[in-house]
Structure formats: structure tokens, C-alpha cells
């Protein structure tokens, strides 16, 4: 039933090869005459673009197969085989991974093209593109892996690359710390993933550990183990996809170059958690409790991040919290077993979030690395193309019909309502209003009103076309991506849901048209209210506010970072130093030092026999030999 195609392995291989090649080129030339930047830029774009072309080929090949047997696979080689555990380096393309492939490679390619302009003049130009290619390649391994183990390779790869790229401007210590934070927080999540994977293998791994075998054997899994596996895997997802309680790394990840933020938020990295839950939908579908936990964690993350987002002053941090918030929606979607809705939101989110980040990057570029929105203002006239594309992205993010974000977010909220998760739905609608508010707060403050910093305003200029063309392409995507999954009520045929159906274990809820109208109406009203408040407060320009009370508390992100520092980091350090200062010298070192002291005493005792005169050694020899002879003669008798 599955077809083997050998070009599947090439999809991740192209960017990975690009990474190796560009990396070597950079290493061998960076200390001597530098290569022109164009060389790196073009080399870096080859890999992603070729991958995108192959992804299209995969899509066409899958489309020709009948819906029930849409699997393409390729086993590159046997990775390892120990006892019951046989792991192939295998790749699997089914409708789910194919959808991910298409937009990951597409948006990845656009971000690479944009970076050619954005990173111009950086002294580590080559290194940047090597990491970017490695990042994309790791994500493609994650998406295409045919077993949790291969997925984990990509999973770790994106973690590594995020670390490398977040601390890319490594001259500044705070950037390095941000990279460390991302890596360490991700490691905590990864532990959950590894444990979950181990439990899964323990449960049903003996009869094949690739997704298709797991899916076939999932009914043999004991419910308790299934719940454990689901929760542990979700811990992994909270790390990678920035959910409560491990979301803290994502806002700090803004320390990296803006295209990296776009890549992390749109195409690679954070979507991995949602993809993983959807990939294991056969598992989550059977454990309702796990799904509920996922959904509630998701929607609470959405709420928390939206609250933070309303009070940020750094343009990239506003967007970072909006990503955390949107990821919360996605988890709410997959949590209420609306997997296709969650994945569809990943899909549309990729377009508008990449667009918003790249737009923000263009603004930052124009203002010479100014990121504080209260120093911007009135940029509409100076940067018309960036303005228009970003407004499109903002409408999509805020969920205004008919932009793409509306359809995907509405699908999630509708699913929550239709499956009877009223609490999640209510919080979701509230967050939708908050999203509209903080998105347009950002747009109005940055682009409308009077310039706040005249010096920066005078020097602002539109970005070069290598940067604006990707923006325009993404704006078209952000505008129209929603129509791929138009619900029936608007006369659509839910193309994406039907496309994904063979990969996912979901049952579409059947609810009346009335419920659907309520869901849509509530979303639209929430958007309108949020937009109205933002317009009345910031539409005509407003001074930088000073926050008091709750606002100040939210501006400082509820002091969660400080809380983690006090509750986890400091005690951990205290434990570490007490082990170092008390336990190590007294407990572990004592026997080691005792042994060495014993030999010193013994040595001192035997020293007296070593007199140094050759005659004395002769006596010892004679005595020894005599003794041996005696013993020998005794034993012979």
C-alpha cells in the first residue's frame, strides 16, 4: 500500500548539504579574502528552493494516489538494530507531512531570499546562511521522519540551530544568555519527549516503531501507558512550541536576527510541537483526558501571552507573544481533537507570522536597528509597501474575515464549541479580541500618527526589493491561504481538512448551522471590539504610556522569569554549590584520598628495606631463593 520513492530523502538532504558546503566555505575563507556576499546568498537559496520543488513533486505524486493509500516512503538505510528495536533512517510522506513540507520549504525559501538583503554587510554572512540551511534541513528531517526516533533527530537539530542562531550576535552577552535559555528550556522539554518515546516503545514498540506500525498497534496499548505517553510527549511539545510552563524562551529568542525569528516562528521550530501532536493523533484521539489537558494548557497560554503582548514596547516581542498566543490556539485545536483545524492554523499562521516578522525586520532595518515602538510612528508615508503588507498580516493575525487567520482560528473555536468545550471557546473568543487589540496597537503606533523620533524618521527608507518582494508574496499568501479550507457555510469544500483526513484520527463534529453562526459571529465581534479599542487609543498617535498597577505587572510579564529564577534556577545553583562544597570533599573524595593515604603509609613502612647497597639486595636475593628452594623441596616430598 505504500510506495517507495527515493527522492524523498533528498528533500532534507539539499539544505543539509548546503549547510555543510557553505559552512566549509565560510571556515576556509573567513580569515582571508572574503567571498562576495552574493555567492553565499545564491548558494544558500539553492537548497531550500530545490527542496520546495521536490515537495511539489511529492504533492503531485500523492494527489495521484487514491485517498486511502496516500503514502510515499523511502528507507535510506538501517540506522541501528538492537534486540526488538529496529530503526531505519526512513522518510514518510503522507498528506500531513506533505502539507508541512510545502509551506516549510516555501516560506523557508522566501526567508532565505529576504535574508540576502537583511544580513547584507554582516561579517558572519556565510555562517548565518550555513546555520539557516541546517535549521531548515533539521526541520525537514523532523517532518519527514517515519518514526519517532528519526523525528527526534530533527527535533534536536532545530533545538541546536535555534541556539546557534539566537545567539548569533554573540558579541553581546545578553544574546548568548538568550540562546542558552532557549537551549536549556528546550532540553527540559526534550527529556519529556525521550521519556514518552521510551514508554511508547515499552508499550507497543516491539512490533515495529514507525508511525504506520504504531498506528496499527495502538489499540494494544494500555490506557494508563497511553495517557503517560501523551502527557510526556506534550511536555516535549511545550518546550519546543513555547507553551506554559516552558514558553519563557521564545520572547528572549528575539535576540537573534529578524529572519531567524521569522524562521523559528513561521516555518521551523515552534510548529514542531503541534505537528507532533497531530502526528500522534492516533494516540491522542484515544485518550480524552490528555486531549483536554493539551487544550486547556494551550488556551491558557494563549490568554497569558495575549495579556503580555498588550503591554510590550519592543516590536519583535509583541510579535513573539502573538506567536505564543497563536500556538496556544493550535494546541487548543489539536487538544479538542480538531487536528486538521490545528494544522490548518499552523499553515496560515506560517504565512502571516513570517510576513509580520519580515515586515518588522524591514522597519528595524530602515530605522537602523531601533526596535522600540514608542520611538517609531508615522512610517506609513516612508515605507508604503512594508505598511500595506504588514497591515494585511495584521488583519490575518487578528482574525478579520476574509483574511486567512480568520478561517483557521474560527475553525478551532468552532470545533471547541461543537465538541462542548465551552470554557475553551469563551477564553478563545476573549483572546481573539485581545489579539486584534495588540496587533493594531502595534500597527497604529509604528505606522500612524506623528513621528516620535524625528532623527530616525528622516533617515527611514523603504527596504530594497530583495526584501519587499518576499513580503508581497507572503501578503498574498496571508490574504488567500484561508480559502484553501473554506468551511461549507461559506460555500467552500474544506479542501485541507479532506486532504489531511487520511493522516489524522479525527471525527468531525456535527453541529447545527446555528452553532457555526454563533462561533463566527463571536469571532467577528471580538475582532471588531479589539480593533475599535486599539483605534480609539492609538489611531491618531499617542505618547508612550507609563504603566501602573496591573498593566505594570503585565509589562513585567507577571515576573514569571524572576519567579523561575527564584524557584528553579537559584535552588538548583544552591544545590550544585552545596554538592561542590560539602558533599564532594567529604563524601565522594574521602575514600579516594583515603586510598592514596594508605599507600603513602605503606610506602613509608617499606622504605626501610630499600637501603640502596647492592650487597643488601644480594642478601635479599639469596634469602628469597633459599626460601623458594625450601618450599619447592617441601612440595616435591
Amino acid at each position: 500500500m505504500e510506495q517507495s520513492v527515493n527522492y524523498l530523502g533528498l528533500i532534507p538532504l539539499f539544505p543539509l548539504m548546503g549547510a555543510v558546503f557553505i559552512g566549509l566555505l565560510h571556515v576556509f575563507t573567513c580569515n582571508r579574502a572574503k567571498l562576495p556576499e552574493k555567492v553565499y546568498g545564491i548558494l544558500a537559496c539553492i537548497g531550500p528552493v530545490l527542496s520546495f520543488v521536490l515537495a511539489l513533486k511529492v504533492f503531485i505524486a500523492l494527489k495521484e494516489l487514491p485517498a486511502a493509500s496516500r503514502f510515499l516512503s523511502h528507507k535510506a538505510f538501517i540506522w541501528f538494530s538492537v534486540g526488538d528495536l529496529h530503526i531505519d533512517m526512513g522518510f514518510l510522506a503522507d498528506p500531513l507531512s506533505c502539507l508541512m513540507l510545502l509551506f516549510v520549504t516555501f516560506i523557508g525559501s522566501l526567508i532565505h531570499i529576504y535574508s540576502i538583503g537583511y544580513m547584507g554587510g554582516d561579517k558572519n554572512y556565510g555562517k548565518f546562511f550555513a546555520y539557516m540551511n541546517l535549521f531548515l534541513g533539521s526541520m525537514l528531517v523532523l517532518v519527514l521522519g517515519d518514526s519517532p526516533v528519526v523525528m527526534f533527530v530533527g527535533w534536536e537539530g532545530v533545538g541546536l540551530c535555534s541556539y546557534l542562531l539566537i545567539s548569533f550576535y554573540s558579541e553581546d552577552r545578553s544574546n548568548v544568555l538568550a540562546g542558552n535559555k532557549a537551549f536549556i528550556v528546550n532540553r527540559i522539554g526534550d527529556l519529556g519527549f525521550v521519556l514518552g518515546m521510551s514508554f511508547l516503545f515499552w508499550g507497543i514498540g516491539a512490533s515495529g516503531f514507525d508511525y504506520l506500525s504504531l498506528k496499527a498497534n495502538v489499540q494494544n496499548l494500555e490506557p494508563a501507558i497511553a495517557l503517560t505517553v501523551c502527557l510526556l510527549l506534550f511536555v516535549g511539545a511545550t518546550g519546543k512550541s513555547a507553551q506554559i510552563p516552558l514558553y519563557v524562551w521564545l520572547p528572549d529568542a528575539m535576540a537573534g536576527p529578524t529572519p531567524v525569528s521569522a524562521l523559528i516562528h513561521a516555518a521551523t521550530m515552534v510548529t514542531a510541537g503541534v505537528y507532533m501532536v497531530a502526528r500522534f493523533s492516533f494516540l491522542y484521539a484515544g485518550v480524552e483526558l490528555a486531549g483536554n489537558i493539551v487544550a486547556w494548557v494551550g488556551i491558557l497560554t494563549a490568554l497569558l501571552a495575549a495579556i503580555f503582548g498588550m503591554f510590550q514596547e519592543d516590536i519583535k516581542k509583541v510579535l513573539a507573544y502573538s506567536t505564543v498566543s497563536q500556538l496556544g490556539y493550535m494546541f487548543a485545536g489539536v487538544g479538542v481533537a480538531a487536528y486538521s483545524a490545528g494544522i490548518f492554523h499552523v499553515f496560515t499562521h506560517a504565512f502571516f507570522k513570517a510576513l509580520l516578522f519580515l515586515g518588522a525586520g524591514a522597519v528595524i532595518y530602515a530605522l537602523h536597528h531601533e526596535q522600540n515602538i514608542w520611538k517609531m510612528g508615522g512610517l506609513k508615508a516612508k515605507m508604503p509597501r512594508t505598511y500595506i503588507t504588514m497591515v494585511i498580516g495584521a488583519f490575518a493575525l487578528a482574525g478579520c474575515p476574509p483574511f486567512s487567520g480568520f478561517f483557521s482560528k474560527d475553525e478551532i473555536l468552532y470545533s471547541a464549541l461543537a465538541t462542548g468545550h465551552y470554557g475553551i471557546w469563551a477564553v478563545g473568543v476573549l483572546v481573539a479580541g485581545m489579539t486584534a487589540y495588540y496587533t493594531f496597537r502595534m500597527i497604529f503606533v509604528v505606522f500612524h500618527g506623528e513621528p516620535r523620533d524625528h532623527h530616525a524618521y528622516e533617515h527611514a527608507h523603504e527596504a530594497p526589493s530583495v526584501m519587499t518582494v518576499p513580503l508581497i508574496i507572503l501578503a498574498v499568501g496571508a490574504l488567500f491561504a484561508g480559502f484553501f479550507n473554506l468551511p461549507a457555510i461559506f460555500g467552500g469544500d474544506q479542501m485541507v481538512s479532506h486532504w489531511l483526513a487520511p493522516s489524522l484520527s479525527e471525527h468531525h463534529p456535527h453541529a447545527s448551522v446555528f452553532v457555526e453562526i454563533i462561533a463566527i459571529g463571536a469571532s467577528v465581534v471580538a475582532f471588531a471590539i479589539g480593533f475599535k479599542i486599539a483605534y480609539s487609543k492609538f489611531g491618531q498617535g499617542a505618547p508612550a504610556p507609563s504603566y501602573k498597577g496591573f498593566a505594570d505587572f503585565a509589562y513585567h510579564k507577571f515576573y514569571v522569569d524572576e519567579l523561575y529564577d527564584a524557584v528553579i534556577v537559584q535552588p538548583y545553583k544552591a544545590i550544585g554549590s552545596s554538592i561542590w562544597k560539602v558533599i564532594e570533599p567529604n563524601v565522594t573524595d574521602a575514600p579516594v584520598k583515603g586510598v592514596s593515604r594508605l599507600y603513602m603509609v605503606l610506602g613509608a613502612a617499606f622504605k626501610v628495606f630499600q637501603v640502596g647497597y647492592v650487597r643488601v639486595y644480594a642478601i635479599y636475593m639469596v634469602l628469597g631463593l633459599s626460601l623458594m628452594s625450601l618450599l619447592l623441596s617441601q612440595s616435591l616430598n
Binding site: K607, F609, Q610, G612, Y613, V614, R615, A618, V622
Partner: protein, 98 residues
């Protein structure tokens, strides 16, 4: 008859041991070692004679060859020792004292 040869060998060997232990001159020590080797040779030859077997002779020849080689080496060492300290007293060389 046989016993006499062995008595002589034992006496020679003990003389050698006493020489190695009690004398301090390097040459004397060295000659004492040679004496012990020859005592052993004498015992070999005696046993070979009694058992009418050539193995003892072979070993005796072997010991002589080894003794010759050893003499060459030992004398070289003695010269170096003398160069080093201008003395041939074994008590002067006690670098291995613990």
C-alpha cells in the same frame, strides 16, 4: 665419588655468596659472581657424568657463553662507574636508597 663433586660445588657457591655479600670492591664482587657460576657448572657436569647424559654439558657451555658476554658488559659498567665517582667501592653507589 659423586658427592665429592657436589660438596666442592656447594663450597664454591657459598664462597661466592659470601664474597658478593661481604666484599665492597666491585671487581671482587664480580669475581665472586663468576665463582658462583662455575660452581653451578661443576654441578651440571657432575650430574651429566652420573646420568651419562649430554644435557648437562650443553648447559655448562651455555653458562660459559653467557658468563663471557656478562663479563664484557660488566667490565664496561665498571669503567663507567669509575669515571663517574673515581671509586670502585659499592657502598658509594647507593642511589636507590629509599
Amino acid at each position: 665419588m659423586m658427592h665429592n663433586y657436589l660438596y666442592l660445588a656447594i663450597i664454591l657457591f657459598c664462597l661466592g655468596i659470601v664474597g658478593v655479600i661481604s666484599r665492597r670492591n666491585v671487581f671482587t664482587v664480580f669475581m665472586s659472581i663468576e665463582l658462583m657460576l662455575n660452581a653451578a657448572n661443576l654441578a651440571f657436569i657432575a650430574f651429566a657424568r652420573v646420568h651419562e647424559n649430554m644435557d648437562g654439558h650443553v648447559l655448562a657451555m651455555m653458562v660459559m657463553a653467557v658468563a663471557a658476554a656478562e663479563a664484557a658488559l660488566a667490565l664496561a659498567v665498571v669503567i663507567l662507574l669509575h669515571k663517574h665517582k673515581s671509586k670502585l667501592d659499592t657502598n658509594v653507589f647507593s642511589l636507590l636508597k629509599g
